[in-house]
């Protein structure tokens, strides 16, 4: 509704609206579009990598450019595609699932997005200014700290800015879920997606500071002459690996837990059954989050930590398989005895189970410390983490997007095109990555620019490349579906899937204030309870009254732009001290915006009761 009005006012007004918005639903749109764009860039980089590896002794791109490609593919996909797309879902869904009108800190929510976007842009500008970062997404010192050019500087500054955005986002959801649940929404009545968002936010809160510290040390090593990672000056290069993986391992759970939540909601909805073993699922989520911090050194089995450390981390890694297994079985038994509808969202969820199980299997195999001396840094590892990140996170994102699209955009994605897009992606995925397990064991290390004739690696790599193109076709069909749906499909009803949770009690898309009256939650799956008792909507917890809303603000955009400008200053002051002017200008803009925010009262506005009644019944 509001979208249509905005369109009538012209494209400029719409852009202004989005730049200044603090509405979690619009911020979700922003995250989705930006994350989607970076996903396409990362995918393009992947295709270039696969073309280079299609045949032995290939010279499609140079070795130096290849290292930039793999670095940017990994960095982009993790930080600029997967994470923002997950934030898009969290923003779109969590406040609706807990019966809130917005997140706890709408201003910070907007700031988090713009920091991520400007950080991501800064990172990608490096392509046009003499070379992208080339030390791998893990950026190990001293390769990174001594890498010539400014590529790694862009990595350091870009991720620092984007990471601050993520940290802010995480804190915001933590506070939102603790403080803003509707009356009756106890912790053990929260939908699984809200639960996993909650645990994910905890992980973000504790994991990102480790990355921040690492990046900070790296920044000083590269730009201001310190020697934290320089062994010749008494530093220690291994410290980077620890800092990176103390962040990096929880990060993979940050990527996977939210989609576990989405899958839980999807399996339950499309089986028409309550989630099997709800409390075990919650417990397993918490346990995975907790153990996720205990296993970082399994990325470092070959670093030389010694057999005692390796054994301890091997066993703790295997332990994670138990709660993950509990989840898989609970999903299977949610479907058991149910009435399974093969919607596109469900299809992605069903594709996820065998795929992720294979990823989990190889995960346990990799956790076996000694055997990892063979797997480590080979295509076996590449296969494994794509099975969990693509087979888990990306399948989950597709499932969740098909599931919540009506809630985000008011239309149901075309189901036929959805089925059509699933199969090439699914088959292409397995073609690309299954064979890579064997390539690794046959002696192909990861991050290899080329391999030789006579090593027995040519056929496998060719198959892998063909698979990658099938995945690209699947992605294009999805994009076509998005456009087709926007033009051709009719407006969706409030509850197209026979949903169980609060978001389906609202119109698709919901009004900007979400709930006209805060709902009363009477159990797990509150909407289902009401439906089973023959009611149409949720019982309200309060009489109709004025709604307090926050004002939009341009300040988050300006603050992020300030850091973006300062980022360039920091990068180039190494060459010419005049660049400190850019630092001063950027930081000036940043602090001036911050000052304005702090000292200028912005009390928001109220939607009056009378207006709410005029706007019609929110329940539909």
């Amino acid at each position: 509704m509001s979208n249509a009005i905005v369109q009538q006012r012209g494209i400029g007004a719409m852009i202004w609206d989005y730049i200044t918005t603090v509405d979690h639903k619009k911020i979700a749109h922003l995250y989705l579009v930006a994350g989607g764009l970076f996903f396409l860039i990362g995918g393009l980089e992947a295709l270039i990598i696969r073309i280079q590896l299609m045949q032995p002794d290939s010279n499609f791109i140079s070795a130096g450019l290849y290292n930039e490609m793999i670095t940017m593919h990994g960095t982009t996909m993790i930080f600029l595609a997967a994470m923002p797309l997950i934030f898009a879902l969290m923003n779109a869904v969590v406040p609706l699932q807990i019966g809130a009108r917005d997140v706890a800190f709408p201003f910070l929510n907007s700031l988090g997005f713009w920091l991520f976007l400007f950080g991501g842009l800064l990172l990608n500008v490096s392509w046009f200014t003499g070379g992208a970062p080339d030390a791998g997404w893990t950026n190990y010192a001293p390769l990174s700290s001594t890498s010539p050019g400014h590529g790694v500087d862009y990595y350091v500054m870009g991720l620092q800015i984007a990471g601050a955005g993520t940290l802010i986002g995480g804190i915001n959801f933590l506070v939102t879920i603790i403080n803003m649940r509707a009356p009756g929404m106890t912790y053990m009545r929260m939908p699984l997606f809200t639960w996993t968002t909650f645990i994910t936010s905890v992980l973000i809160l504790f994991a990102f500071p480790a990355l921040t510290v690492g990046l900070f040390l790296m920044m000083f090593d590269r730009m201001f002459g310190s020697a934290f990672f320089d062994v010749t000056a008494g530093g220690n290069a291994i410290i980077w690996e620890h800092l990176f993986w103390i962040f990096g391992h929880p990060e993979v759970y940050i990527l996977i837990l939210p989609v576990f939540g989405a899958f839980s909601d999807i399996f339950s909805t499309f089986s028409k059954k309550r989630l099997f073993g709800y409390s075990a699922m919650v417990f397993a989520t918490v346990l995975i989050g907790f153990l996720g911090f205990m296993v970082w050194a399994h990325h470092m089995f070959t670093v030389g930590l010694g057999p005692i450390a390796n054994s301890i981390f091997a066993v703790s890694t295997m332990a994670i398989a138990v709660p993950t297994g509990i989840k898989i079985f609970n999903w299977l038994f949610t479907m058991w005895g149910g009435s399974i509808k093969l919607s596109v969202a469900m299809l992605w969820a069903l594709g996820f189970i065998p795929t992720f199980t294979i990823g989990g299997m190889t995960g346990v195999m990799l956790g076996s410390a000694a055997a990892d001396y063979q797997y480590h840094d080979t295509y076996f590892v590449v296969a494994h983490f794509h099975y969990v990140i693509v087979g888990g996170t990306v399948f989950g994102l597709f499932a969740a997007m098909h599931y919540w699209w009506p809630k985000m955009f008011g239309k149901v994605l075309n189901e036929k095109l959805g089925h059509l897009g699933f199969w090439p992606f699914f088959i292409g995925f397995h073609l690309t990555f299954f064979i890579q397990h064997f390539l690794g064991l046959m002696g192909m290390p990861r991050r290899y620019w080329t391999y030789f004739e006579g090593q027995g690696l040519a056929t496998g790599n060719l198959i892998s490349t063909i698979g990658a193109f099938l995945m690209a076709i699947g992605t294009l069909i999805f994009l076509y579906n998005v456009i087709y749906t926007a033009i051709k499909e009719p407006k969706a009803s409030a509850d197209p899937w026979d949903g169980r949770t609060l978001e389906w009690s609202l119109p698709s898309a919901p009004p900007f204030y979400n709930f006209k009256q805060t709902p009363l939650v009477r159990g797990l799956d509150p909407l289902w309870i009401e439906k089973m008792e023959g009611r149409k909507g949720i019982t309200p917890a309060e009489p109709l009254g004025d709604i307090h809303m926050p004002n939009g603000s341009i300040l988050p955009f300006l603050m992020s732009m300030g850091l973006f400008i300062a980022g360039f200053g920091f990068i180039y002051q190494v060459d010419n001290k005049l660049w400190f002017i850019a630092v001063a200008v950027g930081m000036g803009l940043f602090f001036a915006s911050m000052f304005t925010r702090s000292f200028k009262d912005d009390l928001g506005y109220h939607i009056h009761k009378e207006d709410l009644i005029e706007k019609g019944d929110g329940k539909e």
Partner: protein, 355 residues
Amino acid sequence: MRGWMGKLRPVFIFSVLVLFLAGCGEENLSALKPKGYGADLLLDLMVISLAIMTFVFVVVMAIYIFVLIRYRRKKGEENYIPKQTEGNKSLEIIWTVIPVLLLLILAVPTVQATFDLADEKPREEDGSITVEVTGNQYWWHFNYPDQEISTSQDLYIPTGERVYLDMKSSDVIHSFWVPSIAGKMDTNPGDNENTMYLEAYEEGVYWGHCAELCGQSHSLMDFRVVAVSSEEYDQWVSDMQNIDPEATPETASAKDGQKAFENSCMGCHAIGNSPAGVGPNLSNFGNRTKIAGILDHNKENLVDWIMDPDQFKPGNKMEGYNVSEKEAQQIADYLMQLDHSEVTPDSVNGSSGKK
């Protein structure tokens, strides 16, 4: 029963594929075709873990396929509302306890193997061989401190005994990997020295890779492990010990090459048993398997390499040492005749018929 077999077909296909592909890979490169103690031990561990995990996968898939077929919504069931089960204590205990047991079964050999591969005790015995391995962008240096010999790129070891490696890096982190003989170990810069051991069962020339991203030519940082019988190994050691770095070559061109080498190359490349070097040690260059680890070992390639190394290994540190084509020819003649040992990769190849 028949229907069940049909439903399990993907599982059978999967297992057949595993068996089929396990046979793949080159003899001297694949971790699936172990030719040494470490690789053998690790393949066993992989098979144990794969077997346990395949069991889990089959159970999951059996339930999955059954559920999908049995409980799919049929026409006319649109309004059917299934029983809303909360959970099942005993089932949940089963799928918690059984995985714990399976993982414990896997944990035991894992810990055993981890300690086995870190076992340094036999090293105290007299006569065990130690090699100091140094990773460099983009080549490997091998120093035998007890024998006082040095070489690069081709690591000679005797079969049937453990050779202990003390490993470090001169620049960035590398990782030393010979898939068919043992697992891998990183070489770290600074005092962070690592150790591992190689024990080859059979004579042969085995492929080694760098497995940690180390710069532009990371994928070209190959080396070879030349495993020979202990008699041949002793012979090789004494041949290497007796190298005279200043020996005059026979041909005139090689003599000129020696002079040019002394003028242009000696600053970085050692001939003779100098324990360290800025560039690879070339004492036994004539016996090498490959030039720079990647090019076929012949004079034309060597000349091309000397003239423009960056063309073959981008980012390598020999870039910019300009010599004329004539000098390059002479240097090549000099280097190619540095073949002091009868024990060569070719003699090993001849004996075992491997490339």
